[in-house]
C-alpha cells in the first residue's frame, strides 16, 4: 500500500519494513511544507497519526517517558508541565494553536533542525531516545543522536518511540529570541536545567550551531560558584556564565540573523535563565 495509516506501533514498523522508501509522517508541520513546495515527492507514506500508543506518557520511578507522538499542545497539559516545565515553555513558543495541535516531539527530533524548540530542553535533560524497527529496539542518547543539521542516527525502517528524561528536576527554563511571539523560528534559544540536589547546572543552546549544543565548560565553571544550600550564586556569576555559554556557541550568519547577534542573544538568555532557575532553587530551599 502506498499510504498506510497503521493503528499500532508494530503495524507501523511492519509497514516501514515493507516499504523502506516510505516517508514517515507525524504531525506534518515540517514534512508537508517540503511536499507542498515540491522539494519532496514521496512514493509511499507511513502516517503515524492513528498510533495511539505513541501519544502517551508515563512515569517510572524518577524517569518520565514521553511518547514520540505527543503534540506540543499535549506538552502544555498541567501535569506534564509540572514535571518538565521547560519543555512546556518550549512547546508554548512553537507556531500557533493549529501548529501545536499537530507537531510532535518525535517529529521535532527526527527533523533535527538546529532551531527545533524542544531539542535544547531535551539535550539539557540528557534525554535518551527509544528507537524501534522490525529488527529490534535500541536506546540512543540524544547527545549522539543529533549528528548535524537535519541529520540523525535514525536508520531506514526505524522509528522514534519515546524520549526519556528525569521527572524530578523542576528547576528548568527555556528562553528563545525570535522576531515576534507567534509563528517564529528561534534566532537563538537556551535551556538551563538545575539539579540542586547534586549541585549540577546543565545548559543547551539552539540555533547557534549545526545541532543544539551543550555548554560543558560553562556548566562546570558555574557549578562550583553557587551556594547549593541556598541556591545563591557568587556575585557576578550569572553574567560570567552567560559570557562563557556564548563562547561555546558556534553561530553563523544566515537569512534569520547574524552570528554576532546570536552570540549576544545566547549570552543574555543564558544569564537570565540561570538567574531565574536559581531563584526557583532559592524559593524551594527557603520553603
Amino acid at each position: 500500500m502506498d499510504v498506510s495509516v497503521p493503528r499500532t506501533l508494530d503495524e507501523a514498523l511492519a509497514a516501514l519494513a515493507d516499504r523502506p522508501d516510505a516517508m514517515v509522517l507525524a504531525g506534518g508541520t515540517d514534512v508537508m511544507v517540503g511536499v507542498n513546495a515540491g522539494r519532496q515527492t514521496p512514493t509511499a507514506v507511513v502516517a503515524l497519526r492513528a498510533v495511539e500508543e505513541l501519544r502517551t506518557w508515563s512515569v517510572d520511578g524518577d524517569r518520565l517517558r514521553l511518547g514520540a507522538g505527543l503534540t506540543y499542545a499535549d506538552l502544555l497539559a498541567p501535569d506534564l508541565a509540572a514535571m518538565v516545565p521547560a519543555l512546556a515553555q518550549a512547546a508554548r513558543t512553537v507556531g500557533s494553536p493549529p501548529i501545536r495541535n499537530a507537531g510532535t516531539v518525535g517529529g521535532n527530533l527526527a527533523t533535527a533542525s538546529p532551531a527545533g524548540d524542544t531539542l535544547p530542553v531535551l539535550l539539557a535533560l540528557d534525554a535518551e531516545l527509544d528507537l524501534a524497527s522490525v529488527e529490534g529496539r535500541r536506546t540512543v542518547a540524544l547527545r549522539s543522536f543529533l549528528t548535524g543539521p537535519k541529520r540523525t542516527q535514525l536508520r531506514t525502517g526505524e522509528l522514534i518511540v519515546a524520549a526519556r528524561v528525569p521527572a524530578t528536576r523542576p528547576h528548568q527554563e527555556y528562553r528563545k529570541v525570535g522576531v515576534r511571539n507567534a509563528m517564529v523560528i528561534a534566532v537563538a534559544s537556551v535551556a538551563v536545567v538545575v539539579d540542586a540536589d547534586v549541585g549540577v547546572v546543565a545548559c543547551a543552546m539552539g540555533s547557534v550551531g549545526p545541532t543544539p549544543l551543550r555548554a560543558p565548560r560553562a556548566e562546570e565553571w558555574v557549578a562550583g560558584r553557587i551556594d547549593w544550600g541556598t541556591g545563591v550564586p557568587d556575585a557576578g556569576v550569572a553574567a560570567e556564565f552567560g559570557r562563557l555559554v556564548a563562547e561555546e556557541s558556534r553561530p553563523i550568519d544566515d537569512h534569520r540573523s547574524t552570528a554576532a547577534y546570536r552570540r549576544h542573544a545566547v549570552e543574555v538568555l543564558a544569564r537570565r535563565a540561570l538567574e531565574s532557575t536559581l531563584a526557583g532553587v532559592a524559593r524551594a530551599e527557603a520553603a
Binding site: 502506498d2 511536499v35 507542498n36 513546495a37 514521496p42 500557533s96 494553536p97 501548529i99
Partner: protein
C-alpha cells in the same frame, strides 16, 4: 506515479477521491477535488492559518495534512461549520459581518474556524486567550482591531 483512491468524511458526508497523487494535501483535495474552496491556499506552510479546518475536532492547517492519511477522520470545513440551511450564518460569522471584520475576505474562513474552536473550548475567554487563539491567522488588510471586536460581539451574543 500511482494514483491513489480513497474516501474522506467531510462535513458529515463520505466524499470519494479518485486518481489523486498520494502527496496531495488535504487543502488541495478539498479545494481542487471536492469543490470546497472555503479553506484558502495562502502560504501552504502552516504560517497563515487561512486553510484552518477541524480534523476530529482539532483545529488544524489543512495544508499540513496529507489527505490520504485523513481517511477515517471527521473533517469539518468552514462550509460545514454553520446551520445546514443555505445562507444562514453562525453567531461568529454574523459578528464578523456586523463588526466589519472582513475586508478582502481571504483570511476570514480561517479566522472563523479559529474563533469557533476557541469559543467551543472557552465560552468566556480572556483578551489574551483571544489573541492567542488567532495568533496563527494572518490578515493583510484591516489589522486585527475589528477582528477582536467581532470576537467580543460573538462572546456577548453567545452568552445570551
Amino acid at each position: 506515479m500511482t494514483d491513489t483512491t480513497y474516501s474522506l468524511n467531510v462535513n458529515g458526508a463520505d466524499r470519494p477521491v479518485a486518481g489523486a497523487w498520494l502527496g496531495e494535501s488535504l487543502l488541495h483535495v478539498l479545494r481542487e477535488r471536492l469543490a470546497l474552496p472555503g479553506a484558502k491556499a495562502g502560504c501552504e506552510q502552516g504560517e497563515c492559518g487561512s486553510c484552518s479546518v477541524l480534523v476530529d475536532g482539532v483545529l488544524t492547517c489543512a495544508c499540513l495534512v496529507l489527505a490520504a492519511s485523513a481517511v477515517g477522520a471527521s473533517i469539518i470545513t468552514v462550509e460545514g461549520i454553520g446551520p445546514a440551511e443555505r445562507g444562514e450564518m453562525t453567531i461568529v460569522q454574523e459578528a464578523f459581518n456586523d463588526a466589519g471584520a472582513v475586508q478582502c475576505g481571504f483570511c476570514t474562513p480561517g479566522l472563523i474556524m479559529a474563533v469557533h474552536d476557541l469559543l467551543d473550548r472557552h465560552p468566556d475567554p480572556s483578551a489574551l486567550d483571544v489573541r492567542e487563539a488567532i495568533s496563527g491567522n494572518l490578515c493583510r488588510c484591516t489589522g486585527y482591531g475589528r477582528v477582536l471586536a467581532a470576537v467580543e460581539v460573538a462572546i456577548e451574543r453567545s452568552a445570551r
